[in-house]
Subunit: 281 residues, 2 copies
Amino acid sequence: MRIAILGIGLIGGSLAAALRARGVAATIAGCAPGGDASRAREIGLVDEAFTDPVAAVRGADWVVFAAPVPVMGSLMAQIAPALGPDTRITDCGSTKRSVVESARAAFGSAFSRYVAGHPIAGSERSGPDAANPDLFRGRRWVLCPVNDDQRAHCAALRQFLEPTGAVISEMSPDAHDRLFAEVSHWPHAVAFALGAAIGRGALADSAIEFSGGGLRDTSRIAASSPELWAGILLDNADAVLESAARYRAELDRIIGAIEARDRTTLVDSLEAASRWRRRLG
Amino acid sequence: MRIAILGIGLIGGSLAAALRARGVAATIAGCAPGGDASRAREIGLVDEAFTDPVAAVRGADWVVFAAPVPVMGSLMAQIAPALGPDTRITDCGSTKRSVVESARAAFGSAFSRYVAGHPIAGSERSGPDAANPDLFRGRRWVLCPVNDDQRAHCAALRQFLEPTGAVISEMSPDAHDRLFAEVSHWPHAVAFALGAAIGRGALADSAIEFSGGGLRDTSRIAASSPELWAGILLDNADAVLESAARYRAELDRIIGAIEARDRTTLVDSLEAASRWRRRLG
């Protein structure tokens, strides 16, 4: 078996590491612009390193797109002519509506051998050196088949992903994008806004010295890649803005209650939050 | 030596546990309304359990207020007449301007033997069962002396706190309240707003099922006590609202950039956040 992974950073590298760790008998080709692919080969994540995606996918049984969402479309269009007649395809993008549309436009008849996917496992770290064979273990991996051919193809993909230890779910691209705007994309914006407000404020240095575990956790994902997250937030803008509007209403209720010294309203908001968060465990 | 700790939840209980663990030779009296003090005695945190604070402080060499900020003032006024002529006093409140003013009003001449304090160590857990002798180890403990008598008194307090392993700093109540509005109080409101928006939204249940480590961390402190945090946010309202205004401006910049599909502005905000957060480490 030959597997081509396009984008060999945290996600692509961790997938390669998981396949390796579970002894999957395959030649793994990693492809990335710059030095990430040769770094991935150096540290044993992949057997072959490419900077040219067309060369990387040639002869592949599986092609996995693990590149940032904004480049996914052009990357798909670029390699489509080099896909074999039986090549199976998936991606690991954090948004699904736009990626599925890119795939539909790029792949032609190969679209039936594609299923969109999204492993729910990030980290504020990035690059092949952050790769971890256990990154996906026990985490969700969402698949978004959009027609019967793709639904049939899910069985093969589930088997392919088995070594990662991820728990596979299926939902529509639309349901996916709304749900992950709510539980991931918008929460990243919240953390980024907090980090930017503190980092641009007069107390930025003291905040480094005196922050406790609370701020450390609340702001952790603000250390994530700005380029990557700007891409995700813009790609899923409609759903993100819906989550943003509801968050902002809640925030304004809290600010208004503090301004008015309205303890009842304030406790009501804080209790709604606390009740939900305690369920999360 | 006799130590009275008024409020024997997470903070008061952990102080008692730290003194115990380091073998401080003292009788520790714990006081709380309800069953917390007897629970603290049951699990060995304190030697004596009281529900009446006046009885608890009688004969004490040290009185430590570890009660919620909103009850601190009336508690201080209540026990002031029972303080001995040499009793040393401190508190563990999360805000300092209002607590110092309460102490000034309550203690009379004993105000010179008081120093306001704030251990920078919270947890979303509460109650004596959450007590942990290492809660303060390596963490900051801020003291806020406001006159020369109190500055002199700091030496004794530093020695008293030594078994906790905390790193002691001194600053004014005003500087304290601005700094902790920025690094703790307002970040709690941000997390509460996020938890409330998700918890009241249509996706609250799916969010429990599909949230990853990012949301888990970002929202963790939203599981904190609503009553406690409403008290802190209202007590430090002026400073909290200043932090809130700067955060909201940053949030609006991010929302505006997503609405306008303005990648440059969006990346600028995300980078300011990421730069600061990476410094925090």
